[in-house]
């Protein structure tokens, strides 16, 4: 007598997308709904299930699967720092010799008050900077002090840089990769 195969490990592999029970449409719709945020009702995953034609269990499995895969990098309360009083947001950009940029990027990423750090291409002659650091701070003086501290501790005196404070947020929301028109 045939027994059904054991249930595959839900945290492993791509069975999720091979199972007929998961409609591709439902999963796409779930992605869209998740990008808008979790409903604030006692059973939010059930609410999402009802909106996507999946079951509550399937919704939770899909979310866990995307977390394990790294497609979802964190799940939680998404804070608007400006409302809380983080009024000084500085994008500090550096023109680092190409052979040093990865090493310096990793070093600056470890500085506690650096909230984002990445390499982007130069666009000469308009844009000579290839390393970006973001500092979310409470006020301008404090941020400039933090920057001075970083320059001194990482010996960046010779690396040309610019500080672009943000003075207004025209738009701030989560990335909507599948749900925008």
């Amino acid at each position: 007598m045939n027994h059904p195969a054991p249930h595959p490990d839900r945290h492993n592999g791509s069975y999720l997308f091979d199972t007929e029970a998961f409609s591709a449409w439902g999963l796409l719709r779930l992605r869209q709904k998740l990008e808008e945020g979790l409903p604030l009702t006692p059973r939010p995953y059930l609410a999402l299930a009802e909106q996507t034609g999946l079951t509550e269990q399937q919704v939770m499995d899909a979310v866990r699967h995307w977390q394990d895969q790294g497609l979802i990098k964190r799940s939680g309360l998404i804070v608007k720092h400006r409302t809380l009083g983080y009024r000084a947001n500085a994008m500090v950009v550096w023109d680092v010799p190409d052979e040093q940029v990865s090493e310096l990027g990793r070093a600056l990423a470890a500085v506690p008050f650096v909230t984002l750090c990445y390499q982007r291409p130069r666009r000469l002659p308009d844009w000579p900077y290839n390393l970006f650091c973001m500092i979310h701070g409470v006020n301008r003086e404090r941020v400039l002090g933090q920057l001075d501290q970083m320059i001194a501790s990482h010996h960046l005196e010779q690396i040309p840089h610019a500080v672009l404070f943000s003075n207004k947020a025209y738009l701030q929301r989560g990335g909507r990769y599948v749900s925008n028109s």
């Binding site: 992605r31 990008e35 808008e36 945020g37 979790l38 604030l40 006692p42 939010p44 995953y45 939770m60 979310v63 866990r64 995307w66 977390q67 979802i72 990098k73 964190r74 799940s75 939680g76 309360l77 998404i78 804070v79 608007k80 809380l84 009083g85 983080y86 994008m91 990865s102 990027g105 990793r106 470890a110 909230t115 984002l116 750090c117 990445y118 390499q119 982007r120 291409p121 666009r123 308009d126 970006f132 979310h136 409470v138 610019a162 672009l164 943000s166 003075n167 207004k168 947020a169 025209y170 738009l171 701030q172 929301r173 989560g174 990335g175 909507r176 990769y177 599948v178 925008n180 028109s181």
Partner: protein, 154 residues
Amino acid sequence: MRLDTVDQQLINHYQRNLPVCERPYREMADTLGISEDEVISRLAVLQQQQVLSRVGPVFEHSQAGASLLAAVAAPVEQIDLVAARINSAPGVNHNYAREHLYNLWFVMTAPDEDTLDERLDELEHQLKLPILRLPMVEGYHIDLGFDIDWDALP
């Protein structure tokens, strides 16, 4: 904006690791020693107050589709108008004024690279301003879920 201790604890505990279970808000409530109803109503108020943009997942850009950071040098007297046009372009999710010749900085996303290029071409055409296109080459630290320094806030 000053938040009370319970709101601060909610944020301290749950900028990440939101429970994935049937009653996630009840689990959060148990951790904080308050009721499920209170968790839900506090989250709703924090969203209304614009302290939170939402509760839920942050998708990894490189896996979730195409995105890049872009900038334009808008004439200062037209900056609000240019910003509004950028905001209404498809796929734009952040748009900040910054103190620089390149004074508007925005992030645009799309399902794939080709669509992203088309959208930028279209926007460039509308704005009649060249767009600086800066895709990510390598990320060293990309996570805005840092611990809030409550004591330093006004």
